[in-house]
């Protein structure tokens, strides 16, 4: 408007000179004409702007023929979660509403908590409900495809990663809704006197290292990443990631109802991610997010804290399932470690493209906080990685003021861009150990990342191989980090996992981490159940070291709730520590068998990883089917017996997108608008001028 005001002033001057020459009537005529011109000038930019807005922010999905295709399915999610004791039991209802007038198949890739045991699938069509069954993965898929071809209602849920699943719903009638209800349970996290439950709603787009297997055309193909040598199933774990504005206004919203019945007097219920509305009924708390439905672009995290002084330090739960006893024990050593040895601290920070935006800022402040904990006795290094790995020093340097200042400057300059080549960075961080092996130093690696990679398993193997006597601690960043990677990397690295949820949430968790890192509280932990001998399996088989505030969780099958459980270990000073728990005090619980089965499946997969062999597929399948669980080799399928779609009616597949995690930047950029209206204006102006000159000449000629 600054530009247009000066010519306008010229015109008004011209209008003034007009007034002096013409009579009042003609003057009014002139003024109105000028007003019309000005109106047009003002309206034009507004119109152009409106035009532009229409074009921005609409991402359409394209089918095989390159035709326009609006996402026809609207997704609705309802979480119904009940926490009792240490296990949270959830019902997740996902509704796919078909807004088109064609038959649809919906495909949706979604995350669940990393320790979730999925144990039920129910399909709901109108008033009818169809129970799903566990089947071996391939069989289930075949059953589903057959039903889809035949025109029956069918649903199939598969596990892609321990925290990533694919739901398929076939033959959704035009204008109607088909829902699938998933039942899953997860253990509640308990750390330093605070319970925490996470409900993931979206995933950070994963990076797929390795070379593409097929020669992919250099363009965006339906939104799926190409399989690579490192990640053969890349296509199955990379849904579209779009902005909330790109899906229908009522799509990708979730309602969450959480009931906490922990059997303890609670002091507070809070969330670092969302505002909560809580209602209390005795010791039972009802929690839901403020404002009803939440947008599925951020993990929903709830924490609750028992009344001070009443934090539980031990608990026993018992369940009988199919004539067998299951027991679960939780124990917090409650000792505090003392810092004994100087440390070599290596900070590894992920500066890949998926960290861009809010994440890299949080990561930088986490790293700065980490630098604050160093003492002049310590040595440290900072390694950043994206497509390449770069470190501040060649080898860990003494934390002098000078070196720290250099490190701070280095950290401030970190920018997020490029790929996530994690393997070379891990090697760099872990390898330097062997060079200066002296027992007088504790070597620790702090790994700050969002874990957005597709080759988790290979990285766990690498950590196991290269770890030596070091410890790896992971710090998860962002609205939707890959928690499976974080937790498992820390477990293989004999460290702990800390999550940072929001900028305001940086200090607390980090302080806990840095004090825990000072030294483990209990090493060489042994758990002895009464009368335990071969065949009575308890998990985890080899409990890792415990850090300050960290509980030991153990689950066993086939031991009746009698006698005493003995937990022993070694304290930092070297002296022995042991505690006993009276099993007769066990509180009743449910879902322990599933927790046990999930732990057993995990341990079977661990064993395969340690021995570098293929996991015992038959064994895992049998175990999962017996306990009705989803696993890497079993999935759920539900098929309605009646035919609803006749074979001629076409059915189209809709790959539902997930939402871009809040605060992160899209890895995919839109092409910007790169043309001006200059040629159009010039052309119009010239045509108008020529036209009026022509008329003028014509008039002259007629007068002459």
């Amino acid at each position: 408007m600054i530009i247009s005001s000066s010519p306008l002033r010229l015109y008004s001057k011209a209008a003034v000179s007009k007034r002096q020459r013409f009579r009042l009537k003609r003057f009014m005529e002139g003024v109105s004409l000028w007003l019309a011109v000005m109106l047009m000038l003002f309206v034009h930019p507004l119109y152009a702007e409106a035009n532009e807005v229409e074009n921005v922010g609409q991402l359409h999905f394209v089918d095989g023929q390159g035709q326009w295709q609006e996402p026809a399915l609207v997704l609705d999610s309802e979480f119904d979660i009940r926490v009792s004791g240490l296990i949270a039991d959830s019902r997740l209802l996902r509704s796919f509403r078909n807004t088109s007038d064609e038959w649809r198949e919906g495909v949706f890739v979604f995350p669940l908590p990393e320790k979730a045991s999925v144990y039920g699938l129910t399909m709901k069509v109108g008033e009818r409900t169809i129970e799903g069954k566990v089947q071996p993965k391939e069989t289930a898929r075949r059953t589903y495809e057959k039903a889809k071809q035949a025109g029956q209602h069918a649903a199939n849920v598969e596990q892609q990663r321990p925290n990533l699943f694919t739901a398929r719903v076939a033959n959704i009638p035009p204008g109607e809704t088909v829902s699938v209800e998933l039942k899953y349970q997860q253990p509640v996290q308990y750390q330093a006197g605070v319970f925490e439950l996470t409900v993931p709603t979206t995933l950070t787009p994963r990076y797929m290292p390795g070379a593409p297997v097929s020669t992919a055309p250099d363009q965006w193909q339906g939104g799926w990443a190409m399989p690579t040598t490192e990640v053969p199933d890349a296509g199955a774990i990379s849904p579209f990631t779009v902005n909330p504005a790109d899906v229908a206004a009522d799509s990708h919203r979730a309602s969450i109802n959480l009931v906490i019945d922990s059997g303890l007097a609670l002091e507070s219920v809070s969330s670092p991610s969302h505002r909560l509305v809580t209602g209390q009924d005795g010791q039972t708390f009802r929690v839901r997010p403020d404002g009803g439905k939440i947008l599925m672009n951020r993990d929903f995290v709830v924490r609750w804290r028992p009344v001070a002084g009443l934090e539980p330090s031990a608990a026993i739960f018992h369940q009988s399932w199919e004539v067998e006893d299951y027991l679960m024990a939780m124990l917090v050593p409650g000792e505090s470690g003392t810092m004994a040895l100087p440390r070599d601290l290596v900070f590894v920070i992920d500066t890949s493209g998926s960290m861009a935006g809010e994440s890299i800022r949080q990561a930088r402040s986490a790293l700065q906080a980490g630098l604050d904990t160093l003492t002049p006795r310590d040595r440290f290094n900072v390694i950043q990685f994206n497509s390449q790995t770069h470190s501040l020093f060649m080898q860990p340097e003494v934390a002098t003021g000078n070196n720290l200042a250099r490190a701070r400057q280095y950290v401030d300059r970190l920018r997020a861009d490029g790929g996530t080549e994690m393997a070379p960075a891990l090697s760099r961080a872990l390898e330097t150990a062997s060079e200066n092996e002296d027992g007088a130093r504790v070597r620790q690696v702090i790994f700050i990342t969002d874990g957005a990679v597709g080759n988790e398993a290979a990285l766990f193997r690498q950590i196991r191989r290269q770890l030596g006597n070091q410890r790896l601690f992971t710090v998860g960043i962002g609205s939707a980090p890959n928690r499976h990677f974080m937790r498992e990397a820390a477990r293989w690295g004999r460290g702990t996992y800390t999550a940072i949820h929001s900028p305001s949430d940086v200090d607390g968790p980090l302080k806990a981490l840095f004090s825990a890192m000072e030294s483990p509280v209990l090493t060489d932990v042994r758990v002895k159940w009464p009368g335990q001998h071969a065949g009575k399996e308890s998990f985890p088989g080899r409990p890792g070291d415990l850090f300050q505030g960290e509980p030991l969780m153990h689950v066993v099958r086939g031991i009746p709730p009698m006698g005493e459980l003995v937990v022993s270990g070694r304290l930092p000073g070297g002296e022995q520590w042991s505690r006993t728990l009276d099993l007769q005090q066990a509180a009743p619980a449910t879902g322990l068998n599933r927790h046990w089965a999930r732990e057993k499946i995990d341990s079977m997969e661990d064993e395969a990883r340690v021995t570098d062999r293929e996991p015992d597929q038959a064994g895992i399948t049998e175990l999962a089917v017996r306990h009705g669980l989803m696993s890497a080799y079993t999935s759920f399928v539900a098929v309605d017996s009646t035919l609803v779609r006749n074979a001629e009616a076409p059915v189209e597949s809709d790959n539902l997108p997930t939402l871009l995690p809040a605060g992160s930047q899209a890895g995919m950029l839109r092409y910007p608008q790169t043309a001006t209206s200059a040629p159009l204006l010039i052309a119009l102006g010239l045509v108008g001028l020529m036209f009026s000159i022509a008329i003028l000449l014509l008039q002259r000629r007629t007068i002459a």
Binding site: Q219, G223, A234, R415, Q673, T674, L686, V687
Partner: protein
């Protein structure tokens, strides 16, 4: 009649002036940006070309074959593209891919004459020049394709402008993308595919 004619004449003249003002503004702005760029380089800071500007110069782009040189601005919103090509993404150290977008009727008009093998040079704040060679160009439909920055190999330079060059439709969906890759200081090529 005269009235109408006068109206037509003045409105066409206004349109013409507005139309000519855009390329004129683009040319004048580049002169001001030259000064801001010199100042930025001298002081090693982001210095704004005029006090109310919401953008600042980040690099200089030169195409020796076409005897063309221009200052690249941060960001690609409409206001900054009017004054110079915009730096869409990329690190100052050129480690990842660099993407620069410009208006087809002003600064990036000359892109259509770029040929494979031509040199493109980019100068950063430190004054260092980085040479790129044009690998080729293609036309993309911005409604169907997005730029996957993670999948572009390191050392790639993309120049983006609208297509077709002589169209009068300012909101057309087609884009002309010139792809160049770094030469001289050979960078490590990493074959990667990104999750989307």
């Amino acid at each position: 009649m005269t009235r109408l004619l006068l109206l037509l004449l003045t409105s066409s003249a206004t349109l013409l002036v507005f139309g000519l003002w855009i390329p004129l503004k683009a040319a004048i702005a580049q002169e001001l940006l030259e000064m801001a760029w010199a100042e930025s380089q001298a002081r090693q800071t982001e210095s704004r070309p005029w006090p109310w500007a919401d953008t600042w110069p980040v690099a200089r782009l030169a195409i020796p074959e076409l005897n063309d040189s221009m200052i690249v601005l941060a960001g690609t919103h409409g206001e900054s593209l009017a004054f110079g090509p915009g730096w869409l993404t990329g690190n100052d150290d050129h480690a990842g891919a660099v993407i620069i977008a410009g208006h087809r009727d002003t600064h990036f008009r000359s892109l259509k004459t770029l040929e494979t093998g031509n040199e493109i040079r980019l100068q950063d704040l430190d004054g260092r020049w980085q040479s790129y060679r044009v690998q080729g160009a293609r036309v993309v439909d911005s409604r169907v394709e997005l730029i996957d920055t993670q999948r572009l190999p390191a050392g790639t330079l993309l120049l983006v402008t609208c297509y077709p060059f002589d169209s009068v439709d300012a909101n057309g969906p087609l884009r002309y993308v010139v792809r160049a890759s770094v030469e001289g200081k050979q960078r490590e090529q990493i074959e990667t595919v990104a999750g989307i």
